[in-house]
Amino acid sequence: MASTTLHSRLSHTQSPAVTRSSSSLRQITGNSLTWSRAFAPDRLLSAVSQSSLRVVGGSVKPLITCAAGTEPVAAANLAPGTPVRPTSIMVIGATGTLGRQVVRRALDEGYDVRCLVRPRPAPADFLRDWGATVVNGDLTKPETIPATLVGVHTIIDCATGRPEEPIKTVDWEGKVALIQCAKAMGIQKYVFFSIHNCDKHPEVPLMEIKYCTEKFLKDTGINHVVIRLCGFMQGLIGQYAVPILEEKSVWGTDAPTRIAYMDTQDIARLTFIAIRSEKVNGKLLTFAGPRAWTTQEVITLCERLAGQDANVTTVPVSVLKFTRQLTRCFEWTNDVADRLAFSEILTSDTVFSVPMNETYQLLGVDQKDIITLEKYLQDYFTNILKKLKDLKAQSKQSDFYI
């Protein structure tokens, strides 16, 4: 499929007014995105500065240009076939933490859900079990995408590359191919999940990519909604709650960063309200939980609810940062370095939160319907402690019989 080959070019230069360093020039030529990494001492400073995007070698054009948007590719609906039903949606990244909630919500609201999953030996059975249709495709192989999009009205993109794979293949190249394909095939709405503050931290590769994708999506002119997220409550379970219950060591940092965690079920619910609302078209929404928490606060809360002390290993942020610098020295640890890039944010006193009143009003949602972290973790611990108790009772009984 010719329309999926990429002609986008991207480069990232820092605003010359603030720092004249060309160290963080990133450019995409053809099908590749490259970052030249350098250890600029003023990295933090540059993070604050708003980065501007330009086309390399071109005049003052928007940095990201979409081939499908500029070239007269057959973007229009040529055949007067049956109109696509508005209830038909495609979820990308449906097996993920957020994706599965989105699929569930969609099915419950009566959508016909198609999920793009990578072909693998053990297929995502739970999706088919709920009643979604599963199609095989791989964002890293653009030729597999177009066939899966036939008859789709809305694409909901909750995909992010797995930690163990290089960030840019899925998150950048794959997404660009997908968006171009969606444009070419006349998909009527594209919902993209991004990260809060991603425009402010170009030094973090994932955030940079998300931000570039936002821009790219806007430039294609496709009908879209961008939703920026802060953090998922579901993630805290594996990170803190389970280790505390299992009396294993919990790793935390002493970072002062605060994150407004949100339940993915709430995110999914709000997302569908946003999709159906005409007012939200083309807008950028940020979803944040009711309150921002530091790591320490979350651990304290878990300890209180679990009724036992956590064995906390606090890692100073400086160690994280040092490790990142170290891993960046070697080619083979670059992926690791990318993942540790968030430590750059952790040192800053950022708050990952945003007042939600306007969003609630826009979507017509009542604030009290949004679950708080206290309530969420309390539910979790009540349920798990009850289950553990049941298990214990069972094992006692079997002892009795022996």
């Binding site: 389970v242 994280l320 993942r339 968030f342």
Partner: protein, 499 residues
């Protein structure tokens, strides 16, 4: 020797690598913000697939098997998905399991091949089911098709389900809580014993009584095996009645039942059923309760819920079925309407004939057993509407008489759009004018499964609308489907039961 194995450098290396990997994983997680790590599956069960932390989870859903008929229809498709999300076991009845159909249904739905028109296949289908949701509808408006799916289908399925319940109960050496209680069956001359024919008038008018034709009635067993109650009442204000003392089988009381069902034939008169309740030893303290029933020419089954009985003396408390000791069927010439159909040109409304087959009591229960998606008829072309509605109505009636707890949902014209967006109106009496999304209908079906207010109700449902000024027929009560509120219970508790 053992020491040596322990000191095996490969093993040591592996162990140290495991420790290092674990530590490294934790370490690199520290830097994450929006990415979550994959938790091990056991703990994720709680927050993910159908555990109590999932917003869709319903306690008790695991032990409930629901048979969905018409699982590939517009509503049925969504019903199946909703049930799966909530952790129910789902059986889907399909006519043929070709690839297209199977692909449409979730993988762990149990597919049963069968046809609602074929009772034999239904016996297999209802096995192991505790609830039925019927969303099938005829694909054409040919009368045969309509009858087969919308009427006979419902009848066959409710019968198969009752048979299955009875079979289960017999295995437990008891009676199914869903089975009807036989109060009287008129199959031999002996069965007429205990029934007494009485005459009376509402007012003592000596002059009138002298000049009118009088009245007479008899209850007898005819040659062709029918118990016939027949006679005439020419006296103004007169009536004749057939009465018996109820003798219930040992251990059963009428408070476990919620109505009567009479199988009667005749010439289509209306009757008054009277229940006498009070302490059975002292009939002077009894109070009377009445309910009017109408019959058709020929045989029909009439359902009389206890809730439709009104006290003769308005000061009396509402009927308590537990105390009922006498049942009376009364004929009076007042308020009779000529019956439809060819009975002969000269009907005298003061004469009557009633063939009694049986009288049974309908069981109560907490929840609905059978949810039927019917239709209001709006949105159907006028040429077809009548025949469609007739078949649907016949299906509804057969369900009401089955003794199963039923919920009949009559949605407005179905629309293919996501549900939960607009407020809904629940109403009775064919007044609604709007459409409704398939997903909302499916949501009502699923919610009604465990809602005691949904038992034995029929209702219309559509999107909220604003009536034109001056044309407001009634106050519109809208209920917005939402995650937080259970809109169904308040909406339905305002509606009449046993409709």
């Amino acid at each position: 020797m053992k020491r040596l194995v322990d000191a095996n450098p490969v093993g040591l290396g592996r162990r140290s690598r495991q420790i290092f990997d674990e530590a490294w994983r934790k370490f690199s997680e520290l830097g994450q913000i929006s990415r979550t790590t994959r938790t091990n599956d056991e703990s994720s069960l709680l927050i993910q697939e159908g555990g109590p932390m999932c917003e869709f989870a319903i306690p008790g859903a695991q032990n409930t098997t629901v048979l969905v008929v018409g699982a590939t229809s517009r509503v049925g498709r969504i019903v199946v998905r909703k049930l799966m999300l909530r952790g129910y076991s789902v059986k889907a009845l399909v006519r043929n399991a070709d690839e297209e159909v199977v692909a449409m249904l979730p993988t762990s739905v149990k597919i049963v091949i069968g046809d609602v028109g074929d009772p034999a296949t239904l016996r297999v289908a209802v096995e192991g089911c505790s609830k039925i949701i019927y969303c099938a509808t005829a694909r054409s408006s040919i009368t045969v098709d309509l009858n087969r799916v919308d009427y006979q289908g419902v009848y066959n399925l409710s019968k198969a389900f009752q048979d299955y319940n009875n079979k289960l109960a017999q295995l437990r050496a008891g009676k199914s809580s869903k089975s009807k209680l036989l109060l009287a069956k008129f199959k031999s001359a002996d069965s007429l014993n205990g029934w007494e024919v009485r005459k009376g008038t509402y007012f003592q008018d000596a002059v009138a009584a002298k000049y009118d034709g009088g009245m007479d009635a008899k209850f007898e067993y005819s040659e062709n095996g029918d118990a016939v109650f027949s006679g005439y009442v020419f006296t103004r204000g007169g009536y004749v009645e057939l009465s018996t003392k109820l003798s219930l089988p040992l251990g059963s009381t009428l408070d476990r039942y919620e109505g009567l069902i009479l199988s009667i034939g005749g010439n289509g008169r209306s009757y008054v059923v009277i229940l006498e309740s009070g302490p059975s030893g002292d009939t002077s303290q009894s109070s009377l309760y009445f309910s009017r029933i109408s019959t058709k020419v020929g045989f029909c089954r009439v359902r009389v819920p206890f809730s439709s009985f009104r006290p003769v003396n308005p000061a009396d408390p509402p009927l308590d079925p537990f105390l009922v000791h006498t049942l009376t069927i009364r004929f009076e010439p007042r308020r009779q309407r000529p019956s439809e159909g060819a009975v002969g040109g000269s009907q005298d409304l003061r004469s009557f004939q009633m063939i009694l087959e049986y009288i049974k009591a309908l069981p109560t229960g907490q929840e609905t057993d059978f949810i039927l998606v019917s239709c209001t008829g709006s949105g159907i072309e006028s040429s077809r509407r009548e025949s469609v509605l007739r078949a649907k109505k016949a299906g509804e009636d057969s369900l009401r008489r089955s003794g199963l707890g039923y919920t009949i949902i009559r949605p407005g014209p179905l629309m293919e759009e996501p549900g939960g967006q607009r407020a809904l109106i629940f109403d009775q009496g064919n007044r609604i004018s709007q459409g409704i999304s398939c997903a909302d209908v499916a949501d009502i079906c699923v919610k009604a499964l465990h809602d005691s207010t949904a038992r034995n109700k029929s209702f219309d449902v559509c999107y909220e609308y604003v009536a034109e000024p001056g044309k407001e027929l009634y106050e519109l009560v809208a209920h917005l489907p939402d995650k937080a509120n259970n809109y169904l219970t308040p909406a339905l508790s305002a509606l009449e039961k046993n409709t």
